[in-house]
Symmetry: C2
Subunit: 350 residues, 2 copies
């Protein structure tokens, strides 16, 4: 369903921990920013630890069928210490990314005025990581033999296909082309992971020929972590594999204001399946239910959601509201709700 239908039919997955609280603020801001003639319809889903404990289910085929009917998905956070590591990650989060072919995992990093960074000085940071979302070491390929014995062997297979790499590289080039600096950096480890590295590098170079205006370079993932703290301004758009993208986007979030403000989109650009938008942060069970969680990352994820669905002006309005709010917020400690209200007030006024 496209923007022109004037219905925005959203699947909402609050999830675990602080998920409920932050998603509530995201929806408040979304309602406030939508044009009057767009009707927001939401359906809430109870995925996460509670449902897993009650039913043993994480995400069924019926769930996927139901989720499929929405224009997009807004997710708070999934994960709880009571669930063994990997169960919800593989059984829900990754299952959804794979089922809906979310191959463009979009993670912008922008250090907004007034936001503190662990880096000295106040470096300029404004880049986007395009992380591949359906291949690499995330496929679940691999296995174990002789489990629990002194002869155990466990493997993890990173799977990289020309099809999968080319489509995400192409998406990243298009994004770089649309930005003022028009620069794209490939991050990989092609000097060690030579099989996958050559595939990524060759396809990157091939697609580069079609985007003569885009300046390109290549950095090994280890060196990329150095630049992210010593010279983050060198980055404009980064394209990288699923695991490297996971690692460097947490670092990118940390240097550009923390995961409290880091948004992400798990995007299927063809719109064959709904895309999913979520804050980069987790469920933070230690502060859940206390009104302490910062909903900013969720609100910025709503902006990405709107942009994906064609509501560019509304997305920009939210981003401007967040930017102004952060710049002027002073030292007062604010509750989740107060931050949400402040952002609503700004998008309404904006």
């Amino acid at each position: 369903m496209s923007a022109s239908s004037r219905i925005l039919n959203l699947a909402v997955i609050p999830g675990d921990g602080i998920g409920q609280e932050v998603v509530a603020q995201g929806l408040k801001v979304l309602s406030a920013v939508l044009p009057q003639d767009v009707k927001l319809e939401t359906e809430e889903y109870d995925f996460g630890a509670k449902r897993y404990h009650a039913t043993g289910e994480t995400l069924t085929d019926a769930d996927l069928d139901s989720l499929k009917k929405h224009d997009a998905i807004l997710l708070g956070a999934i994960g709880d210490p009571s669930v063994p590591s990997g169960v919800l990650e593989r059984g829900f989060l990754l299952k959804l990314r794979f089922a809906f072919d979310h191959h463009v995992n979009l993670r912008p990093s922008k250090l907004l005025p007034g936001v503190s960074t662990p880096l000295a000085g106040q470096p300029e940071i404004d880049f986007v990581v395009v992380r591949e979302g359906t291949e690499g070491p995330y496929t679940g390929n691999g296995g174990v033999i002789r489990k629990g014995t002194e002869h155990e062997v466990a493997t993890e297979v990173s799977v990289n296909t020309a099809f999968g790499v080319e489509r995400v590289v192409r998406d990243a080039f298009a994004r770089a082309q649309a930005r003022p600096r028009k620069k794209l950096t490939l991050v990989h480890k092609n000097n060690v992971l030579t099989f996958a590295g050559h595939l990524w590098t060759n396809i990157f170079n091939k697609v580069a020929a079609e985007f003569p205006e885009v300046t390109t370079d290549y950095i090994h993932v280890d060196a990329a972590t150095i630049y992210l703290v010593t010279d983050p301004a060198r980055f404009d758009v980064i394209v990288t594999d699923n695991l490297f993208g996971d690692i460097i986007t947490d670092l990118a979030a940390a240097v550009s204001g923390g995961i409290g403000v880091a948004a992400s989109g798990n995007i299927n650009p063809s719109r064959e399946f709904p895309s999913m938008f979520e804050p980069v942060h987790g469920s933070a069970p230690d502060i859940a239910g206390q009104g302490k969680a910062d909903p900013t990352a969720t609100v910025l994820s709503v902006a990405l959601l709107l942009r994906h669905l064609g509501y560019e002006e509304q997305a920009t309005r939210i981003e401007a509201a967040v930017s102004a709010d952060l710049g002027e917020r002073g030292d007062a400690v604010r509750s989740t709700d107060e931050i949400g209200d402040a952002l609503v007030a700004r998008v309404v006024a904006g």
Copy 2:
């Protein structure tokens, strides 16, 4: 050959780029610090880009036989833009680590007084990463089908064995036990790479039971990059797999004074084969031959080499010299040679 034989028989591999310059300083300091009755014998090897271009060889079986006879290996840097990516890395650096079973890749990070860091404030940083050196995605397992076509598939296989994981985990526990804080952190991604992740986690927990004095915790690799910039003081000893170790040690080097001061040891604790010591930085061809390279990381690698061979007092003396030199160096730009001379003067006086 052990310290008691009073001969230190070293293989020296200057390598490419700035390798020659920094290794010369490392040897100068080594000569100056060694007890009078220890005879230093060195044999230089010409591995690297030049030899590769001249002969097509990177590291032959005969080379390995020859290297085997030394007590240890000191390496400057290997790598040059004229050689295709991966050739020297896989053909020399990794081949040597695998051939000599360098399974403990030791990378200390310490922010010394007076050394600048990209982080705000001057956080306390004093930890050691124990990176596994012979398994994980570094084994070269994997392959390519339909190369160069739109149906290409490239795989990389991370291989993890109980044998390989347990020995490095055990080494890391012993190192943690010997440090004042006695804390060990496992870094992995066990919520996604569940096959390897469970192996690492189970072995880590099993060995932990034998070290009741060591406090342990676990962090996902993505979150570890956040802590490395927001709270590096939380780390004491980290143990992790080959690839995660590669990535986080570059970041660790960046936050604790830069790769100009980051030392490393590729250690075979059984001493069945000689261990290799090298600065973490690369060959930096852009500044090679200009006397601009900082030899500090190489000199600190010499300290690790001495400690490995049982020259604890001399190792400590070098580290104290470097610490004093950095703390008092002021703003003067010094040449490679001048830094080496300053360190020689200090170890002689110390």
